[in-house]
Protein backbone atom coordinates (compact mmCIF):
# COMPACT_ATOMS: atom_id res chain seq x y z
CA UNK A 1 0.00 0.00 0.00
CA UNK A 2 2.87 2.30 0.88
CA UNK A 3 4.36 1.88 -2.55
CA UNK A 4 1.09 2.85 -4.14
CA UNK A 5 0.87 6.02 -2.13
CA UNK A 6 4.41 6.92 -3.02
CA UNK A 7 3.67 6.32 -6.67
CA UNK A 8 0.62 8.55 -6.49
CA UNK A 9 2.53 11.39 -4.88
CA UNK A 10 5.13 11.07 -7.57
CA UNK A 11 2.46 11.50 -10.21
CA UNK A 12 1.12 14.66 -8.73
CA UNK A 13 4.50 16.36 -8.55
CA UNK A 14 5.71 15.51 -12.00
CA UNK A 15 6.25 18.35 -14.42
CA UNK A 16 5.26 16.23 -17.39
CA UNK A 17 2.10 17.02 -19.30
CA UNK A 18 0.02 14.06 -18.08
CA UNK A 19 -2.69 12.97 -20.48
CA UNK A 20 -6.10 13.82 -19.06
CA UNK A 21 -7.32 10.23 -19.27
CA UNK A 22 -4.30 8.75 -17.51
CA UNK A 23 -4.78 8.92 -13.77
CA UNK A 24 -6.38 5.68 -12.65
CA UNK A 25 -3.54 3.23 -12.70
CA UNK A 26 -0.69 3.78 -10.21
CA UNK A 27 1.59 1.63 -12.40
CA UNK A 28 2.37 4.57 -14.64
CA UNK A 29 0.91 7.29 -16.76
CA UNK A 30 0.77 8.67 -20.27
CA UNK A 31 2.10 12.11 -21.08
CA UNK A 32 2.74 14.18 -24.16
CA UNK A 33 6.21 15.39 -24.96
CA UNK A 34 6.12 17.98 -27.74
CA UNK A 35 3.06 16.35 -29.17
CA UNK A 36 4.50 12.83 -28.90
CA UNK A 37 2.68 10.35 -26.68
CA UNK A 38 4.96 8.64 -24.16
CA UNK A 39 4.37 6.46 -21.15
CA UNK A 40 6.10 6.51 -17.79
CA UNK A 41 6.33 3.24 -15.86
CA UNK A 42 6.61 3.64 -12.11
CA UNK A 43 8.89 1.42 -9.96
CA UNK A 44 5.81 -0.39 -8.63
CA UNK A 45 5.45 -1.97 -12.07
CA UNK A 46 9.14 -2.59 -12.92
CA UNK A 47 9.06 -6.28 -12.04
CA UNK A 48 5.99 -6.85 -14.23
CA UNK A 49 7.47 -4.87 -17.09
CA UNK A 50 10.78 -6.72 -17.12
CA UNK A 51 9.07 -10.10 -16.93
CA UNK A 52 6.70 -9.19 -19.80
CA UNK A 53 9.66 -8.01 -21.82
CA UNK A 54 12.12 -10.82 -21.15
CA UNK A 55 9.64 -13.68 -21.48
CA UNK A 56 8.73 -12.65 -25.01
CA UNK A 57 5.15 -11.92 -23.91
CA UNK A 58 5.21 -8.41 -25.36
CA UNK A 59 6.91 -9.59 -28.54
CA UNK A 60 4.33 -12.28 -29.30
CA UNK A 61 1.54 -9.75 -28.88
CA UNK A 62 3.38 -7.21 -31.05
CA UNK A 63 3.87 -9.79 -33.78
CA UNK A 64 0.18 -10.62 -33.78
CA UNK A 65 -0.74 -6.93 -33.73
CA UNK A 66 -2.79 -7.41 -30.58
CA UNK A 67 -0.94 -4.89 -28.39
CA UNK A 68 0.34 -1.51 -29.52
CA UNK A 69 4.10 -1.68 -30.15
CA UNK A 70 6.43 0.40 -28.03
CA UNK A 71 10.05 1.33 -27.84
CA UNK A 72 11.93 1.75 -24.57
CA UNK A 73 13.43 5.23 -24.49
CA UNK A 74 15.08 5.30 -21.09
CA UNK A 75 15.27 3.35 -17.86
CA UNK A 76 16.38 4.65 -14.47
CA UNK A 77 15.67 3.64 -10.87
CA UNK A 78 12.78 6.08 -10.74
CA UNK A 79 11.06 5.52 -14.03
CA UNK A 80 11.11 3.74 -17.34
CA UNK A 81 9.90 5.71 -20.32
CA UNK A 82 8.44 3.99 -23.35
CA UNK A 83 7.09 5.41 -26.57
CA UNK A 84 4.11 3.59 -28.08
CA UNK A 85 3.54 3.52 -31.82
CA UNK A 86 1.61 6.55 -32.98
CA UNK A 87 -2.08 5.95 -33.60
CA UNK A 88 -3.36 8.75 -35.83
CA UNK A 89 -6.99 8.74 -34.74
CA UNK A 90 -8.58 7.26 -31.63
CA UNK A 91 -12.20 6.11 -31.66
CA UNK A 92 -14.21 5.40 -28.54
CA UNK A 93 -16.55 2.48 -27.78
CA UNK A 94 -19.63 4.67 -28.25
CA UNK A 95 -18.46 5.30 -31.82
CA UNK A 96 -18.03 1.65 -32.78
CA UNK A 97 -20.32 -0.39 -34.96
CA UNK A 98 -21.55 -3.74 -33.71
CA UNK A 99 -18.77 -5.84 -35.20
CA UNK A 100 -16.07 -3.47 -34.01
CA UNK A 101 -17.51 -3.76 -30.52
CA UNK A 102 -17.52 -7.52 -30.91
CA UNK A 103 -13.92 -7.58 -32.05
CA UNK A 104 -12.86 -5.45 -29.09
CA UNK A 105 -14.61 -7.86 -26.72
CA UNK A 106 -13.03 -10.90 -28.38
CA UNK A 107 -9.60 -9.27 -28.27
CA UNK A 108 -9.93 -8.70 -24.52
CA UNK A 109 -10.82 -12.37 -23.98
CA UNK A 110 -8.06 -13.55 -26.28
CA UNK A 111 -5.56 -11.49 -24.29
CA UNK A 112 -6.84 -12.80 -20.97
CA UNK A 113 -6.47 -16.38 -22.17
CA UNK A 114 -2.97 -15.68 -23.41
CA UNK A 115 -2.21 -14.01 -20.08
CA UNK A 116 -3.39 -17.02 -18.08
CA UNK A 117 -1.26 -19.34 -20.19
CA UNK A 118 1.76 -17.21 -19.43
CA UNK A 119 1.28 -16.46 -15.75
CA UNK A 120 -0.40 -13.09 -16.12
CA UNK A 121 -3.90 -11.70 -15.85
CA UNK A 122 -5.56 -8.58 -17.21
CA UNK A 123 -6.18 -6.29 -14.28
CA UNK A 124 -8.89 -4.41 -16.07
CA UNK A 125 -11.20 -5.01 -19.00
CA UNK A 126 -12.17 -1.50 -19.96
CA UNK A 127 -13.45 -1.00 -23.50
CA UNK A 128 -11.41 2.22 -23.57
CA UNK A 129 -8.22 0.11 -23.56
CA UNK A 130 -8.92 -0.76 -27.17
CA UNK A 131 -8.73 1.31 -30.33
CA UNK A 132 -8.86 0.56 -34.05
CA UNK A 133 -5.66 0.80 -36.01
CA UNK A 134 -4.59 -0.67 -39.35
CA UNK A 135 -8.05 -2.13 -39.87
CA UNK A 136 -8.26 -4.07 -36.62
CA UNK A 137 -8.76 -3.77 -32.90
CA UNK A 138 -5.61 -3.27 -30.85
CA UNK A 139 -5.02 -3.09 -27.11
CA UNK A 140 -3.28 0.08 -26.01
CA UNK A 141 -2.88 -0.21 -22.25
CA UNK A 142 0.60 -1.69 -21.97
CA UNK A 143 0.47 -1.69 -18.16
CA UNK A 144 -2.74 -3.70 -17.82
CA UNK A 145 -0.98 -7.00 -17.14
CA UNK A 146 -0.54 -8.22 -13.58
CA UNK A 147 0.86 -11.49 -12.25
CA UNK A 148 -1.67 -14.27 -12.08
CA UNK A 149 -2.11 -15.69 -8.62
CA UNK A 150 -3.12 -19.33 -8.54
CA UNK A 151 -6.77 -20.02 -7.82
CA UNK A 152 -7.94 -16.43 -7.88
CA UNK A 153 -10.98 -15.37 -9.90
CA UNK A 154 -10.61 -12.75 -12.65
CA UNK A 155 -10.74 -9.34 -11.02
CA UNK A 156 -11.85 -7.71 -14.24
CA UNK A 157 -14.68 -10.16 -14.85
CA UNK A 158 -17.46 -7.82 -13.76
CA UNK A 159 -15.89 -5.01 -15.74
CA UNK A 160 -15.88 -7.22 -18.81
CA UNK A 161 -19.60 -7.87 -18.38
CA UNK A 162 -20.48 -4.20 -17.91
CA UNK A 163 -18.17 -2.95 -20.69
CA UNK A 164 -18.62 -5.69 -23.27
CA UNK A 165 -21.05 -8.54 -22.80
CA UNK A 166 -23.85 -6.30 -21.48
CA UNK A 167 -23.79 -3.73 -24.29
CA UNK A 168 -23.44 -6.44 -26.95
CA UNK A 169 -26.34 -8.51 -25.65
CA UNK A 170 -28.46 -5.37 -25.31
CA UNK A 171 -27.60 -4.45 -28.90
CA UNK A 172 -28.54 -7.96 -29.99
CA UNK A 173 -32.02 -7.62 -28.50
CA UNK A 174 -32.71 -3.91 -28.87
CA UNK A 175 -30.54 -2.73 -31.76
CA UNK A 176 -27.14 -1.13 -32.21
CA UNK A 177 -28.30 2.16 -30.67
CA UNK A 178 -27.73 0.47 -27.31
CA UNK A 179 -23.98 0.67 -27.89
CA UNK A 180 -24.17 4.42 -27.43
CA UNK A 181 -25.07 3.92 -23.78
CA UNK A 182 -21.37 3.65 -23.04
CA UNK A 183 -21.02 7.41 -23.48
CA UNK A 184 -23.20 7.87 -20.40
CA UNK A 185 -21.91 4.89 -18.46
CA UNK A 186 -18.23 5.54 -18.92
CA UNK A 187 -17.29 2.68 -16.61
CA UNK A 188 -19.75 0.15 -17.94
CA UNK A 189 -23.51 -0.20 -17.85
CA UNK A 190 -24.55 -1.28 -14.32
CA UNK A 191 -25.29 -5.03 -14.21
CA UNK A 192 -28.68 -4.35 -12.67
CA UNK A 193 -29.61 -2.10 -15.58
CA UNK A 194 -28.45 -4.66 -18.13
CA UNK A 195 -30.45 -7.41 -16.39
CA UNK A 196 -33.59 -5.30 -16.19
CA UNK A 197 -33.43 -4.40 -19.88
CA UNK A 198 -33.14 -7.98 -21.09
CA UNK A 199 -36.25 -9.92 -22.13
CA UNK A 200 -37.54 -12.58 -19.75
CA UNK A 201 -36.49 -15.45 -21.99
CA UNK A 202 -32.83 -14.63 -21.31
CA UNK A 203 -33.39 -16.02 -17.82
CA UNK A 204 -33.92 -19.40 -19.39
CA UNK A 205 -30.57 -19.29 -21.15
CA UNK A 206 -27.96 -20.77 -18.77
CA UNK A 207 -25.18 -18.60 -20.20
CA UNK A 208 -27.05 -15.30 -19.92
CA UNK A 209 -28.70 -16.29 -16.66
CA UNK A 210 -25.38 -16.98 -14.94
CA UNK A 211 -23.35 -14.17 -16.47
CA UNK A 212 -25.93 -11.42 -16.16
CA UNK A 213 -29.04 -12.17 -14.07
CA UNK A 214 -27.29 -14.14 -11.36
CA UNK A 215 -24.44 -11.64 -11.36
CA UNK A 216 -26.92 -8.81 -10.78
CA UNK A 217 -28.40 -10.74 -7.84
CA UNK A 218 -25.01 -11.51 -6.30
CA UNK A 219 -23.85 -7.94 -6.69
CA UNK A 220 -26.98 -6.71 -4.98
CA UNK A 221 -26.60 -9.21 -2.16
CA UNK A 222 -22.98 -8.39 -1.47
CA UNK A 223 -23.09 -4.67 -2.07
CA UNK A 224 -23.40 -3.90 1.62
CA UNK A 225 -20.36 -5.84 2.75
CA UNK A 226 -18.06 -2.91 3.33
CA UNK A 227 -15.91 -4.67 5.87
CA UNK A 228 -14.84 -7.38 3.50
CA UNK A 229 -16.18 -10.07 5.79
CA UNK A 230 -17.34 -12.44 3.10
CA UNK A 231 -14.69 -14.92 2.14
CA UNK A 232 -13.64 -14.58 -1.47
CA UNK A 233 -14.14 -17.83 -3.30
CA UNK A 234 -11.26 -19.43 -5.10
CA UNK A 235 -11.36 -20.44 -8.73
CA UNK A 236 -9.02 -22.78 -10.53
CA UNK A 237 -7.25 -21.67 -13.67
CA UNK A 238 -9.20 -24.27 -15.62
CA UNK A 239 -12.41 -22.80 -14.22
CA UNK A 240 -11.42 -19.33 -15.28
CA UNK A 241 -10.48 -20.57 -18.75
CA UNK A 242 -13.95 -22.11 -18.98
CA UNK A 243 -15.49 -18.69 -18.32
CA UNK A 244 -13.23 -16.98 -20.85
CA UNK A 245 -13.81 -19.58 -23.54
CA UNK A 246 -17.57 -19.69 -23.09
CA UNK A 247 -17.71 -15.89 -23.25
CA UNK A 248 -15.62 -16.01 -26.43
CA UNK A 249 -17.74 -18.57 -28.17
CA UNK A 250 -20.99 -16.83 -27.21
CA UNK A 251 -19.85 -13.37 -28.31
CA UNK A 252 -18.31 -14.65 -31.52
CA UNK A 253 -21.70 -15.97 -32.62
CA UNK A 254 -23.68 -12.93 -31.48
CA UNK A 255 -25.41 -11.04 -34.28
CA UNK A 256 -27.69 -8.06 -34.49
CA UNK A 257 -31.34 -9.03 -34.75
CA UNK A 258 -31.95 -6.06 -36.97
CA UNK A 259 -29.19 -7.16 -39.35
CA UNK A 260 -30.23 -5.19 -42.35
CA UNK A 261 -29.72 -5.51 -46.03
CA UNK A 262 -27.12 -2.83 -46.09
CA UNK A 263 -24.97 -2.27 -49.07
CA UNK A 264 -27.86 -1.75 -51.40
CA UNK A 265 -27.87 1.92 -50.49
CA UNK A 266 -26.34 3.08 -53.73
CA UNK A 267 -28.94 1.18 -55.66
CA UNK A 268 -31.66 3.05 -53.81
CA UNK A 269 -30.29 6.55 -54.33
CA UNK A 270 -31.19 8.82 -57.16
CA UNK A 271 -27.95 8.47 -59.04
CA UNK A 272 -27.77 7.32 -62.55
CA UNK A 273 -24.69 5.20 -63.20
CA UNK A 274 -23.07 7.97 -65.19
CA UNK A 275 -23.67 10.55 -62.46
CA UNK A 276 -22.11 8.18 -59.95
CA UNK A 277 -19.03 7.71 -62.13
CA UNK A 278 -18.79 11.44 -62.77
CA UNK A 279 -18.97 12.30 -59.10
CA UNK A 280 -16.25 9.79 -58.42
CA UNK A 281 -14.11 11.19 -61.25
CA UNK A 282 -14.42 14.76 -59.93
CA UNK A 283 -13.40 13.64 -56.45
CA UNK A 284 -10.41 11.77 -57.84
CA UNK A 285 -9.29 14.70 -59.93
CA UNK A 286 -9.30 17.07 -56.93
CA UNK A 287 -7.82 14.52 -54.53
CA UNK A 288 -4.95 13.93 -56.94
CA UNK A 289 -4.31 17.63 -57.58
CA UNK A 290 -4.05 18.24 -53.84
CA UNK A 291 -1.60 15.36 -53.39
CA UNK A 292 -3.85 13.97 -50.67
CA UNK A 293 -2.58 11.46 -48.12
CA UNK A 294 -5.28 11.66 -45.45
CA UNK A 295 -9.03 12.23 -45.68
CA UNK A 296 -12.14 12.17 -43.60
CA UNK A 297 -15.39 11.27 -45.30
CA UNK A 298 -18.25 12.70 -43.24
CA UNK A 299 -21.43 10.78 -43.90
CA UNK A 300 -19.25 8.34 -45.79
CA UNK A 301 -21.73 5.51 -45.55
CA UNK A 302 -20.08 2.15 -46.24
CA UNK A 303 -16.89 3.72 -47.60
CA UNK A 304 -17.86 3.40 -51.26
CA UNK A 305 -16.37 6.74 -52.32
CA UNK A 306 -13.21 6.38 -50.27
CA UNK A 307 -12.59 3.02 -51.96
CA UNK A 308 -12.97 4.67 -55.34
CA UNK A 309 -10.14 7.10 -54.62
CA UNK A 310 -7.21 6.08 -56.80
CA UNK A 311 -4.49 8.07 -54.98
CA UNK A 312 -2.64 6.01 -52.37
CA UNK A 313 -4.05 7.16 -49.04
CA UNK A 314 -2.28 6.69 -45.73
CA UNK A 315 -5.36 7.09 -43.63
CA UNK A 316 -9.05 7.55 -44.35
CA UNK A 317 -11.61 8.15 -41.63
CA UNK A 318 -15.09 7.20 -42.72
CA UNK A 319 -17.93 8.10 -40.41
CA UNK A 320 -21.67 7.79 -40.70
CA UNK A 321 -24.70 8.10 -38.45
CA UNK A 322 -25.91 4.66 -39.47
CA UNK A 323 -24.39 1.88 -37.39
CA UNK A 324 -25.34 -0.66 -40.07
CA UNK A 325 -23.53 1.26 -42.80
CA UNK A 326 -20.42 1.49 -40.62
CA UNK A 327 -20.75 -2.20 -39.87
CA UNK A 328 -20.98 -3.02 -43.55
CA UNK A 329 -17.89 -0.90 -44.16
CA UNK A 330 -16.07 -2.66 -41.35
CA UNK A 331 -16.90 -6.11 -42.69
CA UNK A 332 -15.41 -5.11 -46.04
CA UNK A 333 -12.29 -3.84 -44.30
CA UNK A 334 -11.91 -7.19 -42.55
CA UNK A 335 -12.60 -9.23 -45.64
CA UNK A 336 -10.33 -7.17 -47.92
CA UNK A 337 -7.72 -6.78 -45.14
CA UNK A 338 -7.66 -3.02 -45.73
CA UNK A 339 -5.39 -1.18 -43.32
CA UNK A 340 -5.95 2.47 -44.13
CA UNK A 341 -9.64 2.93 -43.37
CA UNK A 342 -10.89 3.71 -39.85
CA UNK A 343 -14.68 3.58 -39.75
CA UNK A 344 -16.81 4.93 -36.92
CA UNK A 345 -20.33 6.00 -36.04
CA UNK A 346 -20.94 9.72 -35.85
CA UNK A 347 -23.99 11.94 -35.83
CA UNK A 348 -22.91 15.29 -37.28
CA UNK A 349 -25.78 16.93 -35.45
CA UNK A 350 -24.50 15.55 -32.15
CA UNK A 351 -20.82 14.63 -32.44
CA UNK A 352 -19.18 12.90 -29.46
CA UNK A 353 -18.55 15.35 -26.63
CA UNK A 354 -15.67 15.57 -24.19
CA UNK A 355 -16.65 13.41 -21.25
CA UNK A 356 -15.33 11.82 -18.08
CA UNK A 357 -13.52 13.21 -15.08
CA UNK A 358 -13.08 16.97 -15.14
CA UNK A 359 -14.80 16.86 -18.55
CA UNK A 360 -11.45 15.94 -20.02
CA UNK A 361 -11.01 12.20 -20.03
CA UNK A 362 -12.36 11.37 -23.49
CA UNK A 363 -11.83 13.93 -26.19
CA UNK A 364 -14.58 15.34 -28.33
CA UNK A 365 -14.82 14.48 -31.98
CA UNK A 366 -13.94 18.05 -32.98
CA UNK A 367 -10.79 18.01 -30.83
CA UNK A 368 -9.67 14.71 -32.32
CA UNK A 369 -10.41 15.60 -35.92
CA UNK A 370 -8.72 19.00 -35.56
CA UNK A 371 -5.63 17.29 -34.15
CA UNK A 372 -5.68 14.67 -36.90
CA UNK A 373 -6.15 17.46 -39.44
CA UNK A 374 -6.70 15.45 -42.60
CA UNK A 375 -5.59 16.91 -45.93
CA UNK A 376 -9.12 16.85 -47.32
CA UNK A 377 -12.64 16.59 -45.90
CA UNK A 378 -15.31 14.95 -48.01
CA UNK A 379 -18.90 15.88 -47.26
CA UNK A 380 -20.95 14.13 -49.90
CA UNK A 381 -24.72 14.19 -49.73
CA UNK A 382 -24.65 15.56 -46.20
CA UNK A 383 -25.44 19.26 -46.38
CA UNK A 384 -29.13 18.82 -47.25
CA UNK A 385 -29.58 16.59 -44.22
CA UNK A 386 -27.82 19.10 -41.98
CA UNK A 387 -29.79 22.03 -43.37
CA UNK A 388 -33.21 20.48 -43.85
CA UNK A 389 -33.39 17.75 -41.20
CA UNK A 390 -31.19 19.42 -38.63
CA UNK A 391 -32.18 23.01 -39.47
CA UNK A 392 -28.51 23.99 -39.32
CA UNK A 393 -27.90 27.31 -41.11
CA UNK A 394 -25.30 27.24 -43.92
CA UNK A 395 -22.99 29.56 -42.02
CA UNK A 396 -22.99 27.17 -39.03
CA UNK A 397 -22.26 24.19 -41.28
CA UNK A 398 -19.39 26.11 -42.88
CA UNK A 399 -17.97 26.97 -39.48
CA UNK A 400 -18.27 23.31 -38.47
CA UNK A 401 -16.34 21.96 -41.48
CA UNK A 402 -13.72 24.66 -41.20
CA UNK A 403 -12.28 22.99 -38.08
CA UNK A 404 -11.53 19.78 -39.98
CA UNK A 405 -8.97 20.43 -42.68
CA UNK A 406 -7.64 22.97 -45.16
CA UNK A 407 -9.62 21.60 -48.08
CA UNK A 408 -13.26 20.67 -48.26
CA UNK A 409 -14.96 18.77 -51.05
CA UNK A 410 -18.67 19.22 -50.55
CA UNK A 411 -21.62 18.12 -52.61
CA UNK A 412 -24.65 20.36 -52.83
CA UNK A 413 -27.95 18.83 -53.93
CA UNK A 414 -30.08 21.55 -55.49
CA UNK A 415 -33.70 22.18 -54.59
CA UNK A 416 -34.76 20.14 -57.60
CA UNK A 417 -33.00 17.03 -56.29
CA UNK A 418 -35.48 14.31 -55.37
CA UNK A 419 -34.03 13.84 -51.87
CA UNK A 420 -34.25 17.57 -51.20
CA UNK A 421 -37.80 17.56 -52.50
CA UNK A 422 -38.69 14.74 -50.16
CA UNK A 423 -37.17 16.54 -47.18
CA UNK A 424 -38.92 19.79 -48.10
CA UNK A 425 -42.26 18.06 -48.54
CA UNK A 426 -41.95 16.58 -45.06
CA UNK A 427 -41.94 20.14 -43.69
CA UNK A 428 -45.59 20.55 -44.68
CA UNK A 429 -46.86 24.07 -44.04
CA UNK A 430 -43.41 25.18 -42.92
CA UNK A 431 -41.86 24.49 -46.30
CA UNK A 432 -41.50 28.21 -46.97
CA UNK A 433 -39.24 28.50 -43.92
CA UNK A 434 -36.66 26.63 -45.96
CA UNK A 435 -36.62 28.96 -48.94
CA UNK A 436 -33.08 29.83 -47.92
CA UNK A 437 -31.97 26.44 -49.22
CA UNK A 438 -30.43 27.32 -52.56
CA UNK A 439 -27.04 27.52 -54.24
CA UNK A 440 -26.66 31.29 -53.92
CA UNK A 441 -27.14 31.28 -50.15
CA UNK A 442 -24.95 28.22 -49.79
CA UNK A 443 -22.08 29.82 -51.70
CA UNK A 444 -22.27 33.13 -49.89
CA UNK A 445 -22.38 31.50 -46.44
CA UNK A 446 -19.47 29.19 -47.20
CA UNK A 447 -17.47 32.10 -48.63
CA UNK A 448 -17.35 33.52 -45.09
CA UNK A 449 -14.92 30.78 -44.12
CA UNK A 450 -13.75 29.32 -47.41
CA UNK A 451 -12.30 30.35 -50.70
CA UNK A 452 -13.96 28.68 -53.67
CA UNK A 453 -11.35 26.87 -55.74
CA UNK A 454 -13.55 25.07 -58.21
CA UNK A 455 -17.13 23.98 -58.71
CA UNK A 456 -18.55 21.46 -61.09
CA UNK A 457 -22.06 20.20 -61.76
CA UNK A 458 -22.64 16.50 -61.89
CA UNK A 459 -24.34 15.88 -65.19
CA UNK A 460 -27.57 13.92 -65.18
CA UNK A 461 -28.19 14.85 -61.58
CA UNK A 462 -29.31 17.91 -59.63
CA UNK A 463 -26.09 18.05 -57.69
CA UNK A 464 -23.03 20.29 -57.70
CA UNK A 465 -19.56 19.54 -56.38
CA UNK A 466 -17.47 22.25 -54.69
CA UNK A 467 -13.82 22.38 -53.80
CA UNK A 468 -13.17 24.90 -51.02
CA UNK A 469 -10.03 26.04 -49.24
CA UNK A 470 -10.11 27.42 -45.70
CA UNK A 471 -9.53 31.17 -45.59
Amino acid sequence: MLTIRRAKIKQTVTTKAIHSSSFRDPSGYVFTDNGVIKRVINPIYFEHYYRLKSSGFFNTLFKNELLVKHEELSASDDEIIIQPEFIPFITYPYEWCFNQYKEAALLTLKLQKFCLENGFSLKDASAFNIVFHNGKAIFIDTLSFEFYQENTPWRAYKQFITHFLGPLVLAHFHGSEMLKLSSNFIDGIPVKTIASLLPFKTKLNPFLYSNIHLLAKFEEKHSTDYKGETKVASLSKKGQLNIIESLYSYIKKLELKEASEWGKYYEKTNYSDTAFQLKSAIINKWINTLNTKTVIDVGGNDGTFVRRITAPLQQALVCDIDNNAVDYNYKQIKQNKERFITPFVLDVLNPSATIGFNNQERQSFIERVSAFHPDVTLALAVIHHMSLSGNVPFSASAKFFRAFSNYLIIEFPKREDSWVQRLLKSKGEFESYFDFYNQVNFESAFSLYFELIEKQSIEKSERVMYLFKVK
Binding site: T60, L61, L106, D124, P153, W154, I161, N211, T230, I243
Partner: protein, 69 residues
Amino acid sequence: MYSLYFDPGLGAMILQAIIAAVAGVILFSKNVMYKIKTLLGLIKHDDQELFDDINVNDSKSENKTDSDH
Protein backbone atom coordinates in the same frame (compact mmCIF):
# COMPACT_ATOMS: atom_id res chain seq x y z
CA MET B 1 -0.60 -6.49 -3.02
CA TYR B 2 -3.63 -5.46 -5.02
CA SER B 3 -3.05 -2.35 -7.03
CA LEU B 4 -6.67 -2.21 -7.92
CA TYR B 5 -8.23 1.08 -8.80
CA PHE B 6 -11.76 -0.01 -9.53
CA ASP B 7 -14.28 -2.13 -7.67
CA PRO B 8 -14.13 -5.71 -8.95
CA GLY B 9 -17.47 -6.39 -7.25
CA LEU B 10 -17.48 -8.85 -4.38
CA GLY B 11 -20.51 -10.66 -5.75
CA ALA B 12 -18.78 -11.03 -9.09
CA MET B 13 -15.71 -12.56 -7.44
CA ILE B 14 -17.73 -15.13 -5.51
CA LEU B 15 -20.03 -15.93 -8.38
CA GLN B 16 -17.25 -16.83 -10.79
CA ALA B 17 -16.97 -20.33 -9.31
CA ILE B 18 -20.61 -20.97 -10.24
CA ILE B 19 -20.28 -19.35 -13.66
CA ALA B 20 -17.20 -21.45 -14.36
CA ALA B 21 -19.19 -24.59 -13.58
CA VAL B 22 -22.04 -23.53 -15.86
CA ALA B 23 -19.52 -22.59 -18.57
CA GLY B 24 -17.87 -26.00 -18.16
CA VAL B 25 -21.17 -27.75 -18.80
CA ILE B 26 -21.94 -25.52 -21.81
CA LEU B 27 -18.51 -26.05 -23.34
CA PHE B 28 -18.65 -29.78 -22.70
CA SER B 29 -22.06 -30.19 -24.32
CA LYS B 30 -20.97 -28.02 -27.25
CA ASN B 31 -17.98 -30.23 -27.78
CA VAL B 32 -20.12 -33.34 -27.66
CA MET B 33 -22.54 -31.80 -30.18
CA TYR B 34 -19.62 -30.75 -32.36
CA LYS B 35 -18.24 -34.28 -32.37
CA ILE B 36 -21.62 -35.80 -33.17
CA LYS B 37 -22.16 -33.33 -35.99
CA THR B 38 -18.68 -33.99 -37.34
CA LEU B 39 -19.38 -37.73 -37.33
CA LEU B 40 -22.62 -37.14 -39.21
CA GLY B 41 -20.84 -34.82 -41.62
CA LEU B 42 -22.95 -31.80 -40.71
CA ILE B 43 -20.09 -29.38 -40.10
CA LYS B 44 -19.34 -27.00 -42.91
CA HIS B 45 -16.23 -24.91 -42.62
CA ASP B 46 -17.08 -21.31 -43.13
CA ASP B 47 -14.20 -19.42 -44.70
CA GLN B 48 -16.18 -16.22 -44.51
CA GLU B 49 -15.87 -16.02 -40.74
CA LEU B 50 -15.01 -12.51 -39.66
CA PHE B 51 -13.15 -13.40 -36.48
CA ASP B 52 -10.61 -16.09 -35.75
CA ASP B 53 -10.47 -18.33 -32.71
CA ILE B 54 -9.36 -17.39 -29.21
CA ASN B 55 -5.78 -18.65 -29.39
CA VAL B 56 -2.92 -16.25 -29.93
CA ASN B 57 -0.60 -17.49 -32.64
CA ASP B 58 2.48 -18.24 -30.59
CA SER B 59 4.84 -21.04 -31.50
CA LYS B 60 5.93 -21.19 -27.87
CA SER B 61 2.54 -21.82 -26.30
CA GLU B 62 0.79 -23.54 -29.16
CA ASN B 63 1.63 -26.98 -27.90
CA LYS B 64 0.32 -26.16 -24.48
CA THR B 65 -3.27 -25.57 -25.48
CA ASP B 66 -5.46 -28.62 -25.46
CA SER B 67 -7.83 -27.61 -28.18
CA ASP B 68 -10.38 -30.23 -29.02
CA HIS B 69 -10.95 -29.10 -32.54
